[in-house]
């Protein structure tokens, strides 16, 4: 549990014991200026068929609201082990969430996709509002989300 507090600088090493090689990836998620409270945001990886693989980050501290991040909730089963140590504050309207995470090389250019689910109290939930393949080519190219995400970019 203490790890949570240490992770505020937003640098995370994904624990993937089988894979030795990893590199830092920056994920930049800019929210549009919607009217409402802070958004819960789930960043996670799926395989090419959309099957859940790995949680990257959950913005939003109260796990009782996680069910609104519907696709992520379904894939991860909302098991604390899936997101322990990977959570932070919710993201306010119009602000940008910047994360730098260690991602295993084996997950890059290997058909995996970054998904983003978002939810805001008393507003719509957006499941997989961003779906982009995690590839070297895709780095630095912004993608617009279908809900609260104005643009999403990752770079190595």
């Amino acid at each position: 549990m203490n790890a949570k507090h240490l992770l505020l600088p937003l640098t995370i090493v994904l624990a993937l014991p089988a894979l030795s090689q990893a590199r830092p990836v920056s994920f930049t998620t800019e929210l549009s200026p919607y009217k409402g409270d802070g958004a819960y945001v789930a960043l996670y990886l799926t395989d090419a068929a959309g099957k859940y693989k790995q949680t990257l980050w959950i913005a939003g501290k109260k796990s009782k609201y996680y069910k609104h991040l519907a696709d992520w909730a379904r894939g991860s089963g909302m098991k604390p082990a899936e997101y322990d140590g990977m959570t932070g504050a919710s993201v306010s309207s119009g602000t940008t969430l910047k994360l730098t995470l260690e991602v295993a090389d084996a997950l890059i250019d290997a058909g995996y996709q970054v998904h983003i689910d978002t939810a805001v109290e008393d507003k719509r939930d957006n499941r997989s509002e961003v779906v982009v393949p995690l590839t070297t080519d895709g780095a630095g190219k912004p993608t617009a989300g279908k809900g609260y995400v104005k643009s999403f970019t990752y770079s190595f």
């Binding site: 009217k35 409270d37 069910k67 519907a70 379904r74």
Partner: protein
């Protein structure tokens, strides 16, 4: 103790709780507003499948359907690149309006539950709820305590305007505030994690399996089986995912619906803990129970008024007590000085005694008699300084003393002394001091020195008592009391109306206004055009200091400060220092006067009939009550004078009040007329009607001389004896009040 438990948290919480209550009251309108816009089919009229069919016609890109607790149906949809949410009519599937929680309400909600401060804010609002609960409970206890028991708690409330407003609003809002505070506290405890939060049923996602071709939503069997009014949320399968299910939440539980077979899978019922949580949530927010929301909102609206009036009451009580240097806490004091004071004169003596004893090294605790605790650990001496109010009654700061004394546990070493203050001119001189002394003896307490009495605030007699006390306790006590001149204001005689000017005891109605500042006034006073009249109501007293006297004379007021005049009715006594002074005043002359509130002597709130009885100049405050009876509550006046030709005070005014129904009935008796009757005779003649009025909750206010008041008590006792009532009982209920002189 109870009062401290009420007023201290009240002062601390006033602003906090007022903000929470105001925002709560605004939020409380939301369920009713939502309900106004919602179209709600009857139970059993529509299934979720029917709704999905209607929705499909207008929203091919539907993603999610929600049913708010108000019954409003909201459709979240996407068409092309745009997404939106509409409030719809479930019967047609058509949009009523675009849906969005108004920013204003969202802002209010955040202010209400957390002051925009998340966890810290939630701790603050949770504490606010706890304080509100404490205030509601102690407030109710005080109300019952004041009224003399729960049975009388719904009776009329007396006191100053602030006290009456505080009591009446608090009483009316009590249940609502209790409910809001209790449920709010529960919700705070839940969101702060102090009690486990009961979550909705959260069934596991069923394993994915390849599906056959999906069926249209409105044909799915599981959705046909759910009544629309049980629905909370229906989430459609993700368009790009053929293996996805519908997920559905209802009032009963949550589950998934197979898109091709239409079967419900993995349904899980809500736990009973969750159902309790939802019930409490509903009670707090009024969501799904709009009328309760409105009632709670109304109750919450009283809170800012309660906060303001409560602070006023506290301030008034505080400023009424002199500040005492070195007032030892009650439990640590070896000497207690308990004060029974109506105005503040007795407090002045108490302070002199307090200072002298403190100087001599005693640890002294000085407090109003009403604060008598059930016991004092270290006290060896209890010195009681008390005035007497009216006809042998307790003064304002001692009204609860005798009742509390019955529960008092004396320590064996405690000795007491009672010092009464009064005026020997009146019968029953220092009667209340005598009663207190007798009650203490009756409790088995041991006197330190015998009861003593001070006539007309005599500093010499007080010093003599001090020497006696000093001898007994073995300390030399020099009590030098310099009576403080009351803080007076100048008032200017505007008008005098004379009755019986040719007799040797004429009666005059004096009308004063605030005096214009003179050259002698300070700069600040001259900046204003006029002095303002202090606040007072009819029935309060004005203290007037005749030149060269430090002892004020009190007269009952016939007007309220709202009218801009101060009116008294004074009979000239042959040797009267003050009445003679007043009768020599000419319009334009100024007097020095101050106000002493007399909140007990006032018509109670409510519609119960009021019987006003008076003689002579006692008509003054009674005429004032009638003048202000603009709501036209039934008011009966019995008044006795001497001579109908020279002595009929307020004759034209009373005629006028009768005509416009402010006065229901007027009965006069004149002792020096043909039938030579007294007011008691008129009362006796109407005995049946009066008995009926009293039986129906009438209140009686008597103003005038002692003899008259005694005669009236006797005749009223006779009248109500057949219904097993007595003046004593009416007095205990606060329904019989006297202002006698």
């Amino acid at each position: 103790m109870l009062r401290q438990l009420h007023s201290l948290p009240g002062l601390v919480a006033a602003l906090l709780v007022a903000v929470m209550a105001l925002t709560g009251a605004i939020l409380a309108t939301d369920p009713a507003q939502q309900r106004l816009h919602a179209v709600i089919p009857a139970d059993g009229e529509m299934s979720v499948a029917d709704l999905a069919g209607n929705v499909a016609q207008y929203y091919p890109g539907v993603e999610q359907i929600q049913r708010a607790p108000s019954g409003a149906i909201i459709v979240y949809f996407r068409s092309g690149d745009t997404s939106g949410a509409d409030l719809i009519d479930p019967l047609s599937g058509q949009a009523i309006t675009a849906y969005e929680t108004p920013a204003f309400m969202r802002w209010m909600k955040n202010l209400h539950r957390s002051f925009f401060l998340d966890t810290e804010g939630r701790i603050a609002t949770g504490s606010g709820a706890a304080l509100m609960l404490l205030l509601a409970i102690t407030g109710a206890l005080m109300l019952a305590d004041r009224a003399g028991g729960w049975r009388n708690a719904l009776g009329p409330i007396r006191g100053t305007t602030a006290q009456r407003l505080h009591g009446m609003l608090g009483r009316a809002a009590l249940l609502g505030l209790l409910l809001s505070a209790l449920t709010g506290l529960y919700m705070s405890a839940g969101s702060l994690g102090l009690i486990p939060e009961a979550l909705e049923a959260e069934p596991e996602f069923p394993p994915e399996e390849p599906l056959a071709a999906p069926l249209p939503t409105h044909t799915l069997a599981a959705l046909k089986a759910i009544d629309l009014n049980d629905l909370r949320e229906l989430v459609y399968p993700y368009p790009g995912d053929p293996a996805d299910y519908y997920s559905v939440r209802t009032d009963q539980g949550a589950g998934f619906v197979h898109a091709s077979s239409g079967e419900m899978i993995a349904f899980e019922a809500h736990s009973s803990a969750r159902k309790i949580y939802e019930f409490i949530y509903m009670l707090h927010t009024g969501e799904g129970l709009w009328w309760l929301g409105l009632l709670l909102g109304l109750a919450a609206l009283t809170v800012p008024v309660l906060a303001v009036t409560g602070t006023q009451i506290w301030w008034k009580r505080r400023s009424g007590m002199p500040t005492l240097a070195h007032n030892t806490p009650a439990d640590a004091a070896d000497t207690l000085i308990l004060v029974g004071s109506e105005g503040n004169t007795t407090w002045g003596f108490a302070r002199t005694l307090h200072d002298a004893l403190t100087q001599a090294g005693y640890r002294v605790h000085t407090a109003p008699m009403n604060t008598l605790a059930s016991g004092y650990r270290a006290a060896k001496r209890m010195l009681i300084l008390t005035a007497t109010y009216g006809d042998g009654g307790p003064p304002a700061s001692a009204t609860e003393f005798l009742a509390k004394l019955r529960r008092f546990n004396r320590t064996p070493e405690l000795r007491y002394a009672v010092l009464g203050f009064g005026d020997r001119q009146f019968p029953r001189f220092c009667q209340y001091a005598l009663d207190v002394d007798a009650a203490l003896l009756g409790q088995g307490c041991t006197p330190l020195c015998p009861l003593d009495m001070i006539d007309r605030q005599s500093p010499q007699e007080f010093a003599r008592w001090g020497r006696n006390l000093g001898d007994v306790i073995g300390t030399s006590l020099q009590l030098e009391h310099n009576p403080e001149r009351p803080h007076t204001r100048p008032m200017q005689l505007a008008e005098r109306v004379e009755y019986g000017a040719d007799t040797d005891t004429p009666t005059t109605v004096f009308r004063f206004t605030a005096a214009a500042p003179t050259q002698k006034s300070g700069i600040l006073s001259r900046l204003r055009l006029r002095y303002r009249l202090p606040y007072f109501e009819a029935g309060d007293l004005v203290g007037i200091l005749p030149p060269g006297s430090h002892v004020p004379r009190f007269y009952s007021l016939a007007s309220s400060s709202k009218e801009g005049i101060l009116e008294i009715c004074v009979r000239k006594h042959t040797d009267g220092l003050c009445s003679g002074y007043l009768h020599n005043l000419k319009p334009g002359d100024c007097i020095d006067a101050f106000i002493r509130p007399n909140p007990e002597f006032r018509p109670a709130s409510g519609k119960a009939p009021v019987i006003l009885i008076g003689a002579g100049t006692g008509i003054g405050p009674l005429a004032g009550f009638i003048k202000h009876n603009t709501p036209h509550h039934p008011m009966y006046l019995y008044w006795g004078g001497r001579n109908p030709q020279s002595d009929f005070l307020y004759q034209s005014e009373l005629q006028h009040y009768l005509e416009d129904k402010r006065l229901t009935k007027l009965n006069t008796a004149f002792s020096r007329s043909a039938d030579s009757a007294y007011v008691q005779d008129r009362i006796n003649a109407d005995n049946e009607e009066l008995r009926k009025l009293i039986q129906n909750g009438a209140q009686i206010l008597v103003c005038g001389g002692r003899e008259m008041a005694k005669g009236v008590r006797e005749v009223i006792d006779d009248i109500i004896a057949p219904i097993n009532a007595s003046v004593q009982m009416l007095k205990a209920e606060g329904r019989y009040r006297e202002d006698v002189y």
